[in-house]
């Protein structure tokens, strides 16, 4: 076939070749990017940490010194192509480009060549489960496909159980405190555990007898474990028991799925779900859940201690104790309250804002404590310059903008109540996240010591006085807050 007789086909062929080449380049870039993101997580009784994985000649490599250093005294010496490593009393020698190494005078064959990269000794990932026991004298389990390395008996186990309350809750109990990154998406709540040596239960897929949360699955990849809970309604996770328990429940506003109604069962518009097959028992009428009126956010927590108020007293502890006391006061006034951090766990500011926004409270109260000054300081958001809202979507950084006046109104109500109780109070704006990310009236309260001094900051009497004032202020503003949309 001559090109001159089929000119269009030849041009098409060239374009096809070009398209193929561009696709190859694009995929190469994608591959390059994903290679840079490869991680290995190492779990041990000394430390849990994550290292980058380097890809060479189609093999995954990791720095041996970087693995051992957090576990004990280690030092290296490079002599030309020879790389000598000493970990505690164990000596090893590797040679760049060779797959045979000597550890404690004994030969060890690696599945691929040892590499030297700017003085870093790289070993193939595939050899870790045989190489590391020689250094550590302890069992090592390596989940190679997910790149998770367990040194010794460090695994964290968990159980999951559905409580058939109204609404149903999924209670997950962990053998050690956990602090996963939580993300929600339609029909799913994902918890990613990178720092925790979480291991799968007997089955990687768990099924529950619940229409709201029918199943959960466990997966491992790229140095992390993930539990994904499927739900027929938006789900919300809360921590308790010092981070050992995660309770997953439908978000309050969404929890009014057909199973949850105060109407009589005969009302067709809100009929209960079909009974279990074979059952003819009438489904009892159940009470409609009360949406949260207030969200109280105890600032800091977990590894983030906040201000050191005294040698022994951390801000995170004062804020948690106060938040619980405030919930009690608000609940007593009939204002259903959610404490966002009800345990010593770390929550990011974005997580706090996401959780608060997901329950659509009438007011969000962030709690802080300080040693400077006396009395109480109330803050509303000092808004940063934002990108502006797009249609129905609020700009994350300035989500508070539309609620500013309602926030100031609530602040004024709280301030008046403090005045009534002769508690010194001051109102200010503050560049304090996540106030600006909250799509509801939002106020922060910073509790400073009373006139008696810092030692009384966490006294029950003082905290009770402040909690009563805040609860009275919120109750006084209830009607105004209820009208805010």
């Amino acid at each position: 076939m001559r090109w001159s007789s089929r000119p269009y086909s030849a041009a098409g062929f060239f374009f096809l070749v070009l398209f193929g080449i561009f696709t190859f380049i694009f995929l190469s870039f994608l591959h390059l990017e994903s290679a840079e993101e490869k991680k290995i997580s190492i779990y041990s009784s000394a430390a849990n940490y994550t290292l980058s994985v380097t890809e060479r000649n189609g093999q995954d490599y990791v720095g041996l010194f970087e693995i051992l250093e957090p576990l004990g005294t280690a030092n290296v010496k490079t002599d030309g192509l020879h790389w000598k490593l000493r970990y505690k009393t164990v000596a090893a020698e590797f040679t760049a480009g060779e797959s045979r190494a000597r550890v404690q005078g004994r030969n060890l064959d690696l599945p691929a060549s040892f590499l030297l990269d700017n003085g870093r000794g790289l070993v193939p990932l595939a050899c870790l489960s045989t190489l590391l026991p020689r250094f550590l004298a302890t069992p090592v389990a390596f989940h190679e496909t997910s790149r998770r390395l367990f040194i010794g008996n460090v695994a964290v186990h968990f159980t999951a159980q559905i409580n058939k309350t109204n609404p149903p809750t999924l209670v997950m109990n962990f053998s050690s405190p956990v602090n996963p990154m939580i993300a929600t998406e339609p029909g799913k709540l994902r918890m990613v555990f990178r720092q925790e040596p979480l291991v799968p239960p007997g089955s990687r897929t768990l099924t529950f007898d619940s229409a709201v949360m029918p199943s959960a699955s466990f997966e491992e990849s790229n140095g992390a474990a993930e539990i994904a809970v499927t739900g027929s309604a938006p789900l919300l996770a809360s921590f308790s028991n010092d981070g050992r328990t995660i309770t997953i429940a439908p978000a309050p506003n969404q929890a009014q799925a057909p199973v949850r109604t105060s109407n009589p069962p005969s009302t067709p518009a809100a009929s209960p779900p079909p009974a279990q097959s074979g059952s003819t028992a009438p489904v009892p009428a159940v009470e409609r859940p009360v949406p949260y009126f207030a969200v109280v956010d105890a600032s800091h927590g977990g590894e983030e201690r906040g201000a050191a108020l005294t040698d022994q007293l951390a801000e995170k502890d004062v804020t948690l104790a106060f938040a619980r006391r405030l919930r009690q006061e608000l609940d007593a006034k009939g204002l259903n309250t959610l404490v966002l951090r009800d345990g010593d766990v770390t929550l990011s500011l974005d997580q706090r804002a996401s959780l608060a926004n997901s329950v659509h409270p009438k007011i969000y109260i962030s709690v802080h404590a300080a040693s400077l000054g006396t009395g109480v300081r109330l803050y509303t958001a000092l808004l940063p310059q934002g990108g502006g809202d797009r249609g129905p979507f609020l700009d994350w950084d300035t989500a508070q903008a539309g609620f500013r006046f309602a926030s100031q109104s609530a602040e004024a109500s709280l301030s008046a109540e403090f005045g009534n109780r002769q508690v010194p109070v001051r109102t200010l704006i503050a560049p304090l996240r996540p106030l600006n990310n909250i799509a509801a009236p939002a106020v922060a309260i910073e509790i400073a010591p009373p006139a008696g001094g810092i030692s009384q900051l966490d006294s029950a009497a003082y905290q009770q006085l402040v909690a009563e004032a805040v609860a009275a202020g919120v109750a006084a503003a209830r009607d105004k807050l209820g009208a805010v949309r």
């Binding site: 060239f14 983030e304 050191a308 000092l382 940063p384």
Partner: protein, 196 residues
């Protein structure tokens, strides 16, 4: 018949694309971690020359938690950016004094101030500035308001300010005052008026 110039053009493109592919392929193996050299990050400021001028510094007072305008005479260079740096260094100099009304931790420094865009000032403080700062909503916002307000009042035309620590963005100064966003000078002005 395929025109000759089209053939040459496609062949050239083909060669370029092939070259790029080989280059990208070789690049894959060259991602290396380069250890940052240990360097002394402390700023060495040249001696300031220029006539001393009267400026207004917004000085924080922890007790009773206020911001007060205070006039001072300091030597200022002629450049706008250098003036901004000297202003903030003078302000921090006050806070580093042991008798200061709003003490900052030892070693706190302003590394640089950049006027990078019409209306935008970027303050780059050193790590000690944030690492040794006391934690608390009020005490942190006093520092932020003092810096931003002093800059905005003395350097005309600044409408927003960004604060970096050691050249990088930090989530908060010491756990409270947000450093991820751009401070709107008019909003800080409102805060300063509340703090009088």
């Amino acid at each position: 018949m395929i025109p000759r110039h089209l053939l040459i053009g496609v062949a050239a493109m083909f060669a370029v694309v092939l070259g790029m592919s080989v280059y990208v392929w070789r690049m894959r193996g060259r991602v290396e971690q380069v250890e940052a050299p240990v360097v002394d990050t402390r700023t060495v400021a040249p001696p300031v020359s220029g006539p001393s001028e009267q400026v207004t510094l917004y000085v924080a007072y922890d007790e009773p938690g206020v911001l007060r305008a205070q006039t001072a005479r300091i030597a200022l260079p002629s450049g706008r950016q250098e003036r901004a740096q000297e202003l903030l260094r003078a302000l921090l100099g006050m806070y580093l004094d042991k008798s200061s009304s709003h003490q900052l931790g030892p070693g706190a420094e302003i590394r640089d101030v950049y006027l990078v865009d019409p209306g935008l000032a970027v303050i780059d403080a050193n790590a000690a500035f944030a690492d040794t700062h006391r934690s608390g909503v009020l005490v942190e916002e006093l520092t932020v308001a003092s810096l931003v307000q002093t800059l905005a009042v003395n350097i005309p035309g600044i409408t927003r300010v960004k604060i970096l620590v050691d050249g990088k963005q930090r989530e908060a100064l010491a756990g409270h005052a947000d450093l991820t966003g751009f401070y709107d000078v008019s909003a800080v002005n409102e805060l300063a008026s509340q703090m009088r």
